[in-house]
Amino acid sequence: MDSVDLSQLEHRARRKYEWARARRALLGFAPSLGVVTIAALANKHPMSAVTFGAAMFVVGAGLLWYGREIRRAVLPGLAMGILPLALALCANHMGHACMGDHCMMLCVPACSLGGLGAGVGISIIGVRWKQSWPFWAGATALTLLTGAMGCSCVGYSGVAGLAVGYGVGLMWGFAQRRLSSSP
């Protein structure tokens, strides 16, 4: 039809398409706010939990909005991030462990251990699903941000412990998969 400006219609439709995707992504990722709330309530430093939680929500909703392969990273990233988060929150409440005269905070080891488990988990999922780098990048960002909500209990050292543990876990998972797949 001549009277219809198709390029204008396409622009309008595209804008609405993007808005619909954004709305859907925000709604789809809204349950993760429950995790942020629990982390903030259980954390001794709720502000850092909320800050990392907000970043996690923005990244997760952004990945869902963008779609394609990277959106598949959202669920594994969030689920695996809950592991270090839960361990860190538990360690946060236990405080420290003493062996003889030596006492140590449990938060950093808990974060490293959680990060290790999360790294292994993500590497298993990523290799099994045959994902490329956008998945790995998205899953890593979400796992670290989710875990950081709990691991910020002792400041940056907790987050660093989480990142190191995650890196080691990821490498270990890769190596395991490589070894098992090689003849």
């Binding site: 039809m1 009277s3 219809v4 198709l6 219609l9 396409e10 309008r12 439709a13 595209r14 609405k16 398409y17 808005w19 619909a20 995707r21 859907r24 909005w65 963008y66 779609g67 394609r68 959106r71």
Partner: protein
């Protein structure tokens, strides 16, 4: 990519649902002509049909993230367009607008045309009362579009949809 335009549309809609923006313009161009055709045949007025088709196309693309890959894309899009045309016709009736093409004319030809238009509007309104699946089955049948069902399944689905359309028509207008 498949050369069959219907299969091509289905795969493009799947890509669009997954967020592949490269498929957007192609889907837009594939859907515009059939949607406009459907709206023209339902509304019998070029200006109204263009408005309704624009709204329908926007809705189809907005809802493309909800597209179910198990169902064929064209009947799904036409179902949305049929609903949009029905809403448009209803709004027009409520406003008691008299489109230019319906300006009073004399002669039996125009009376027949008027009666046919009113009948069409009534059918569109009844069609709008049906479930999306029934609507898709009927739209696919009468506008010769592909559906996910074939053979006996399609026949049964069509029969059931027609029966429900008849019942709705009776309920709305008290006619058999």
């Amino acid at each position: 990519m498949s050369t069959d335009p219907k299969a091509q549309l289905d795969s493009l809609l799947v890509r669009l649902a997954e967020g592949d923006r490269a498929a957007f313009t192609v889907v837009f161009r594939l859907l515009w002509p059939p949607l406009l055709r459907l709206c023209r045949s339902m509304l019998k007025n070029d200006a109204d049909a263009a408005d309704a088709a624009q709204q329908a196309l926007e809705k189809v693309l907005t809802r493309s993230s909800d597209y179910d890959r198990r169902r064929p894309g064209m009947p799904w899009a036409l179902g949305i367009a049929a609903w949009e045309c029905r809403t448009f016709a209803r709004k027009r009736a409520r406003r008691r607008e008299l489109p230019e093409e319906r300006a009073p004319e004399t002669g039996t030809g125009s009376e027949d045309e008027l009666a046919q238009r009113e009948l069409m509007q009534a059918a569109v309104a009844a069609l709008g009362e049906l479930s999306p699946q029934d609507r898709e089955a009927l739209v696919a049948t009468f506008w010769e579009e592909a559906t996910d069902a074939t053979g006996a399944t399609l026949r049964k689905r069509r029969e059931r949809a027609l029966k429900r359309l008849r019942d709705t028509f009776k309920r709305l207008y008290g006619l058999g």
